[in-house]
Amino acid sequence: MKKSQRSGAPGPSTPVGVLAERAAEALRQQRFKEATELFKLAIRQDPRPEWTESLADAYSGRARAMAAKKMFKEAAMVLENTIAADGTVRDPRLYLTCLIRDAQQPKAAAYLLRSFGSGGTLPAIERTALEDLAAALLVAVPQLPEAPRAASSELSRWRELAVASREALSAWISGAPVEEMDRQLNRISLRSAFRPVRLLLKCLTGTPRDDDRTRHRLETIQPGSAFYPFRQAVEAAVFGERVLDAFGWEQLTPAQQAFVAETRGLPTTASQFLARSSEAAQGGPAVLFNYLTKQPDLPQAEVRSACLNLLPQIPDRLAQFEKSFGPLSDLERHRVKALAAEARNDWEAAEQSWLAAAEAIAGGGADRQVTLSQGVIYRHLARLAEMHPEIEGEGFLGDPVSFYLERCYAVDPEHIPTLLDLIGRYRKESRLKDWHRLVDEAIQRFPDDSHVLLQATESAVARKAYKRAAGFARRLLKIDAINPGVRRQMIELQVAHARKQMRSKRPDLAAKELSAAAEWERSDAPSALLRIARGLVGLQTGAKEQAEAWLREGVELAGGGVAGWFQAVLEAELMNATGGNAGWLRQELARARETSPTKQAVITIVAAAGRPEAGENKRVVAGLLLGMRPWLLQAAAFDWPDAEFQALAETLARFDAFDLLQEYARAARQRDPANPAWRFHDIVARTKGNADRLSMAETDDLFEMAEAAARREDFQAAKRIERFLDGNGSGSAGKSRADVALADTIDDDELAALFMAMMDEMPRGAADSLRGLVQELGREAALAQMVERFRASPVGPGMPESLLRQLCAVMVAKALDGSPSRPGRKTRRSQLFDA
């Protein structure tokens, strides 16, 4: 059998119609090579124009495929098969691109000149861009293409302009005077595609220089133009004194840098330095350091500064630096060491070096610069401590962030951001006494700072000093009349008072409280909470019509529908507004639930349930969520982003809605199985938020998740998992950190010794009784009981939950199989603490 027959290729006797059909099919399926061959065979038998057209399409497609593979030379050759009678190819833009990318600029220039001269069959939409490209090509090529014998007037015109542009450029390069340049430039029509040449040379030779006109001229050369890099170079050369800073220089291409250096008459040494220093910089800091230290002609103070800045990347060159530039000061040495330690993620060394640097600064006296510099270092250490647990501050028990912020505040008490950070830290750490003390100090020192006034208001609210809070809030609103934060806070405060009055069966006093709260409301930003509260109180004080209007308005402002009525019912429960009103509200909520949930509505409900007063009435909110279970379940299938899911999961867990959380987590895992966050929530839901119910497999999973989160620097996720493992799911990060810090104080040897002692000191009978316990309760329950026992033992307090569990797991394993493998010291320690 012949090869052509085997491969299904047409034989010489294949009818022309079949050939054309198969060729068209191949073209449709983008099998361009096959389409080309088939069309060629068909045309050989019957040269129909439509098949010739299709053949050109097939060539064009094939060329495009080749160009995509960077086979530019071959693609251009394929396109040359489509040359029409007027000399143009099927896809001129692609053809030119291929020629240019294959460094065939002269051929591209000749093609364009021929195309423009032949009456223009180029697509109109591309014509302007192609003319711009043609002009650049005709100026750049070493030799202008020959004109055909019977050149059209259009072609002659193009050639004339190209000659004029090339001559003008040559005249400028050879230093022609201004008058000569003007004469040359006047030959270039401003209406032609060569206009950029005239404008650029005019900008370079115009005297006296008119900056505005020059800029205007340059701006007419757009970024899409082939002359644009030339424009940027001229801009840098002409406006050099203003634009040639480091930014300007580094943004330039090598050709542009050369142009600037040449036109600005840079000394050879400077030009050489600019060129070679870039090469050295590409070789890395050590190469650059060596290059710089061998430049005696450069200003040595600047060379020293540049080398000093390189030292943190190449600390091994410290001795060489000192040999070249003299000894470093103590501050410089510690600074270099600290930055070098940071670069290699050695945070303990970085902390020590920064502290040494701060001490070295202190040796320089007590002037403003000294104290501010120390403040800068302490603030930096506080920032590092937030990210890296290796930064310890004063010791493992305290919070290092607060510690360094306190030191910063001590040396630089006028720095408001530090003050606010420290206040925020005290609040986060629940150090109430320190919080209020610092706020009192701050308001004395900065009585007119809006941020400090806001803190003072919040501090007064927390201390239940309402009048004081109102005073601060009014002062704040004088400075910042809009401040929605303080307005909201004051309204919430008075609504809270009204709630208490309602619970004490004093709706009249509650109404008075709420009327006063209206002082804080802006007419263009009505408060949903206040409207709802006034409505609920009004329903009991008699003004039913007005009350209902307020209530409905509040519900709408709170998001309307389920979200709005949920908040109204919640508020009614919090106020203990029982009886007919509560029933009416619940009916409205039930009616609203007939509509399908939306993400926005669910998130609004989550936010409402997250309010502190809701948290204080857990039973009420849990009951409400239980009533809304079917409605909330419908939203489980939504595509929740991580952050929103996290808020939702926390709320569901807080109110013990673990079955809902499990449904949400499962739906999320089905949608996105690769995201470990859903697995975490699934585990939380299954264990009902109790780490003691974790299975070994789940514990391992969580450790892995925490480590993976830490590796990808998702510290929030890592800490969340860590808190859960420590049995402190809703606890503060500070406590968790203290646990980790405590564990960190036990070094590897101590940890191993601790394990060994535990194993060795296990009474002989204990293994038997432990086996019995496992048989009786099952491994998990036995393990949980062991953990409880250890927690109550002298080693329990202060030992992280995770470590206790690990220890108990090893003991159970030893009891069961008699010869447990002890956890590898390094590995286990890493698993336990590094996350």
């Binding site: 600029q105 600005r264 400077a270 650059l288 200003p299 540049a306 800045n309 943190p312 510099s373």
Partner: protein, 105 residues
């Protein structure tokens, strides 16, 4: 980040007023609508130097990645903006850059 002192073209001991003056002059010359990247660079440099503490922070904490900047600026300032001309090779290289970029786009 580039050395903000070099980006703004001010000395390390420049005060608030001088730094602001220089920043405003640069923004006038290169408003954000004309050259957004350049404006962002100036803005970042100004933010890093706009008060005494930030300047100290820049000097103490930042390793100057573009350690060469200042030396380059010094080399460039040594030049006198005159009416020197470029070589044909350089001009051709500029045009070729533009042609290649157009073809690549």
């Amino acid at each position: 980040m580039r050395d903000p002192f070099t980006v703004l073209g001010v000395a390390e001991d420049a005060d608030d007023a001088e730094i602001r003056r220089r920043y405003l002059a640069l923004v006038r010359d290169f408003p954000p609508d004309r050259d957004p990247d350049r404006f962002r660079e100036y803005r970042a440099a100004y933010d890093a130097l706009s008060d005494e503490r930030k300047r100290l922070e820049t000097r103490l904490l930042h390793t100057n990645v573009a350690a060469l900047s200042r030396l380059r600026a010094a080399a460039l300032h040594a030049a006198s903006p005159g009416s020197a001309r470029a070589t044909k090779r350089t001009v051709t290289a500029l045009l070729t850059d533009g042609i290649m970029r157009t073809a690549t786009d």
